[in-house]
Subunit: 320 residues, 2 copies
Amino acid sequence: MGAVEHRGIDEGAVVDAAQPDRGDREVAGAGDAQEEREFLAGYDPRAFDPMAVTVDVVVLTLRQGRLHVLAVERGGPPFAGAWALPGGFVRAGRESLDAAAARELAEETGLDAAALGRVHLEQLGSYGRPDRDPRMHVVSVAYLAFAPGLPDARPGGDAAGAAWLPVEAVAGAWQPETAAPRPFEQGRRTGTHGGGTGRRPLPSVPGEAVLAFDHARILADALERARGKIEYTPLATAFLAETFTITELRAVYETVWGAPLHAGNFHRKVLSVPGFVESTGQTDARPGSRGGPRARLYRAGDARLLHPALLRPDREADIR
Amino acid sequence: MGAVEHRGIDEGAVVDAAQPDRGDREVAGAGDAQEEREFLAGYDPRAFDPMAVTVDVVVLTLRQGRLHVLAVERGGPPFAGAWALPGGFVRAGRESLDAAAARELAEETGLDAAALGRVHLEQLGSYGRPDRDPRMHVVSVAYLAFAPGLPDARPGGDAAGAAWLPVEAVAGAWQPETAAPRPFEQGRRTGTHGGGTGRRPLPSVPGEAVLAFDHARILADALERARGKIEYTPLATAFLAETFTITELRAVYETVWGAPLHAGNFHRKVLSVPGFVESTGQTDARPGSRGGPRARLYRAGDARLLHPALLRPDREADIR
DNA sequence: CAAATAGTGTCTCTTAGACATTATAAC
DNA sequence: GTTATAATGTCTAAGAGACACTATTTG
């Protein structure tokens, strides 16, 4: 993704010689249009191989100038004791995917409705390799959340523990081995991450947290989405309190992108994009600890897209 | 999605006062890490409310200078006789989501592996409102495909018919009522499209095709994704044959974006972006029917991202 | 010949980015 | 005073877009 999106890659691949083998189809009978009621009355939802649907949420926040992800310690098998993304099964027939993600987010963060109202939550993508969970075929719909500074994590639900992990300390997340777009799922499985076997991932560099299932892959995709998203939306403000300084906003970009930005140019750019931030007229109560004038305070503007977008530095290198 | 993604909006919302009610959690027992094997042996996948997972594919192509989407006529209930996106149930335990989408694509288009290799296929997003399918809670993982000119559609699988529908002729797809980002699913249901009740959608403007389920919403999201995707990737070439002229490429952009582009500037821009197209040294065998020089032929280059990206005209208007 | 199209050249305006400068505060 | 930071100004290069122009083909 380039300047104007010079934006993150969502996901993409070319079909590599799909092999359409015949199989079961679901729609039973060929009743008339009128008699759908009868059809539905006799419909047996358990006639298929069972599948489960979960939501997993990648909650990102900034703590001490570093990007952190919320992780839970699994209290039961599979992967008992391992770190995982917070998530859980969707309640069949009772909630939508978005509602399930919002519920998991609320449960695991322990935030009240007011605080949750400032959290950005969006769907990231779905992950459905048959072997990604050893119990059964589980399709996980991953969500991505941007949260402002939050209190220490506390276990919610069945989790044995919860913690904010620095994303650089998660194996395979910050710098995924594959700079290339994700290879088509059904094809080659040469990559090492993703826990493709459903077994516990192999130990990695000491000090690095290893995530259960394919959650390292999900986190890597989430980080790439986040990097792209703040280019063309004002969602970097979702990492900050209701009012913030331009310097704090710049710190968000520098942390998420992992690259320093020019303070002066960034400042002018942010103020020039319509609707990105609006002035509060206030100045920061706690001035810089090492001198300097009090910074002005801003709040998020009403724009939902940045135009022109911000440009991530040094994109030429990884274009191809 | 902006310039560099001035790119399409993927999806996003703010959690509006989620209501976390307690409920069943899935992970049974709290066995030791060592005994996962025993746990799995006694694991009953049917212990949950049943859910089904389908894939639906939005196959876009250009025919006679208009954007078309592949649709099938449903052969059985629900929505028997109505148009729908091609798709079907994922084979539990036997295929990944990507594989299921590729299989459906192959079945419904009838293309061979060679032709499929030129089709771009990517995951679009998942749709999981509990009432989107009257049979049961069905989560649909939607995929988006860009295909070059294809033969007439023919029914595959259980479909009663298949056709390429001009997207402007599909109710609620080309210009969705909500210019705003999709409202959070669990919240307000004021919109008219999506077939939220699970019943057959209400009749719309005569001559407009009405899609079953929430497929109009999926198609609308797919079109927005497509509009953004061709800004920062060279995937517009996926709509064309292996070799093409710059004018043909421009027609793709004009059709997908629904806006005319300046021929001269577009030409220079395309040739200036590294890796977008590469020359074949050939010229078009069939020159323009109304005069003019023979156009040079190009093929897709090796870039996966365009840098700098192409800019969609007139984005200022719909920023907020 | 006229008309239409492919491809290139020229100019202007906007923007990104490098860098300098001024102002304000802590020490 | 020195040092650090906030905020603004200046300059250059690149790119977008408007427009003009030439070349090549059909009829």
